[in-house]
């Protein structure tokens, strides 16, 4: 059996909750057990916003991740500082390197670090940084393989229903750019 526990963290408005939701949806459609557990309350307003996503072949215990995270996704510096230590031995740390820089000794030895210039990638491709979260999600899926890559398409069709379907092509492209960026960095 395998369990993936992933913390997505950033500022409110960066899309942490929705990237977690897309991943959770993809996993659910694969028939996995899933939990999506957000921080809630006043800290959403401009402060840090995070969501804990767990994907497993068996029943999920604590929906809150406090240790042994398969992956921490930091969209800004405060999030990196808050969660870097929760990565499991040999786990992955995926950082939006346009907004956060890993300090010396901040990641445990053996952590696989992916510095993804997500804002730049998104801006170059779409003229704005809105889709940086999907770039990051692509990198996460490459780094930890919690789902099959093709399942993300199923998730998009569920999350972007009806009139929102027009957003799918750009989201898909952003996801692929992030996936390929992480793949390049991993060579």
């Amino acid at each position: 059996m395998s369990t993936f526990s992933i913390i997505f963290a950033g500022f409110g408005g960066q899309g942490t909750q929705s990237m977690g939701k897309i991943l959770a949806y993809a996993a659910m459609l694969e028939g996995k057990e899933v939990s999506w557990c957000p921080s809630y309350g006043p800290e959403m307003r401009g402060g840090t916003s995070n969501v804990h996503v767990i994907i497993s072949d068996e029943g999920i215990g604590s929906p809150v991740i406090t240790k042994d995270a398969t992956c921490v996704v930091a969209l800004n510096k405060p999030s990196l500082d808050k969660f870097a230590h929760t990565v499991a031995d040999g786990g992955a740390l995926v950082i939006n390197s346009d907004l956060a820089e890993l300090e010396e000794g901040q990641a445990k030895a053996g952590t696989r670090v992916f510095n993804i210039p997500a804002n730049k990638i998104a801006t170059d491709a779409f003229g704005g940084s809105k889709l940086a979260n999907l770039v990051m999600l692509g990198a996460v899926v490459y780094a930890t393989s919690p789902i099959k890559v093709e399942s993300i398409d199923d998730a998009f069709t569920h999350v972007f229903e009806g009139g929102k379907a027009k957003f799918i092509p750009d989201n898909k492209k952003a996801f692929e750019l992030g996936f390929n960026c992480a793949k390049e960095l991993d060579k």
Binding site: E33, V34, S35, Y40, P42, G61, S62, T66
Partner: protein, 352 residues
């Protein structure tokens, strides 16, 4: 029906509709405001009625009225809001009326915090209103279980003529998990022949609360307690988790039990024979679970998001207060896996 990914608060709203609830009266409060929000748009689509009352007190009395008219009716709130509803819950109970109350608990006392808590155990289980009465209290530990329990709550309420409280917490309300809705109505739910539906040419019905003669009032109480005896006999529910060889047993419900489940994984990996009795009903408290395991369990490790409100019930159920130890976080904090593991190791010593 295929599984969908839903927030607990929205899922319990949908569960109520699936179970035939067509009336909701409530007032928003974090962390359960998505329940009224969801029902405000969804109930009218099925011919139901949603009212945002002027207060929680008004809302619970609207519930009282709708229940008296024979409706399946729901209200929901979070801790301080449910505190305001207590008088009405006592009245509904005294009138032997069915109603479902959801409490997505947050940290208290008073206005407290909006983060998740379990410190309304006493208010729900011991009764926050006056007089001799019990609420049936169901304690879900996942979004799916919250859905199933809300559906079941309507059946239990109708079966016995009593308010049923679904006692969850802010985390279950806010998190998303895959859910499916498969409501199957229980067998044997009596018809509401007593409902106030307008006399017409039929019988006069009267639902009242004042029983002024002490002998009558005492007899009335005894009638309620005959119903409670049936509930005690029929409705206890719990989960045994890895209990077969367990020498130490956690006792934990709701969100706290999820953390305990993960902690047990770490402890089992180190060879500790530890399991969990997870009450799904808090009243009736699952006495049968303790009768079943008491012989082999050396200590009960009660873990809650409160200062230990369930401890007396565990001590009573296992008939040995010296067997019960407690670890809790309160005021909106959720215990971490590490602290639960450390607590258990301290109690067990090296006893594997």
């Amino acid at each position: 029906m295929a599984k969908v990914l839903m927030k607990g608060n929205e899922a319990v709203g949908k569960a109520a509709i699936e179970a035939g609830c067509r009336y909701f009266f409530g007032y928003p409060i974090t962390p359960q405001s998505e329940v009224p929000e969801y029902l405000s748009s969804e109930l009218p689509k099925v011919g139901g009625t949603f009212v945002q009352a002027e207060s929680e007190v008004a809302a619970i009395n609207m519930v009282y009225g709708a229940a008296a008219a024979g409706a399946r009716v729901l209200t929901s709130s979070s801790s301080p809001g449910v505190a305001l509803k207590q008088e009405g819950i006592g009245y509904i109970s005294n009138a032997s009326l069915p109603a479902v109350i959801i409490n997505m608990m947050r940290g208290g006392p008073g206005l407290g915090t909006i983060q998740p808590g379990q410190a309304d155990y006493n208010m729900a289980v011991k009764g926050g209103s006056n007089g001799d009465y019990h609420n049936v209290v169901l304690a879900p530990a996942s979004v799916q279980e919250a859905v199933d329990m809300v559906m079941e709550a309507f059946d239990i309420a109708d079966m016995y003529g009593t308010p049923v409280i679904v006692l969850a917490d802010g985390l279950i309300g806010q998190m998303m998990e895959p859910v499916e809705f498969n409501y199957v109505r229980r067998e044997g739910i009596p018809e509401k022949t007593w409902a106030l539906t307008g006399k017409g040419k039929g019988e006069r019905h009267n639902i009242k609360n004042l029983v002024i003669d002490p002998d009558d009032c005492e007899a009335w109480n005894h009638e309620h307690f005959e119903v409670y005896e049936r509930i005690l006999a029929n409705e206890e529910a719990w989960e045994d988790y890895l209990m077969e060889d367990a020498e130490y047993a956690f006792v934990s419900y709701g969100t706290a039990s999820r953390v305990v489940r993960t902690a047990i994984g770490y402890l089992r990996a180190e060879g500790y024979k530890v399991g969990m009795i997870r009450p799904k009903t808090l009243w009736p408290f699952p006495q049968k679970a303790f009768d079943k395991w008491n012989g082999q369990v050396k200590k009960y490790l009660d873990v809650e998001m409160s200062m230990g409100q369930m401890v007396p019930d565990v001590a009573y159920a296992c008939n040995d207060k010296n067997k019960v130890v407690f670890h809790g976080r309160t005021g909106g904090n959720v215990p971490t896996v590490d602290e639960v593991v450390a607590f258990a190791k301290e109690i067990m010593g090296g006893d594997k």
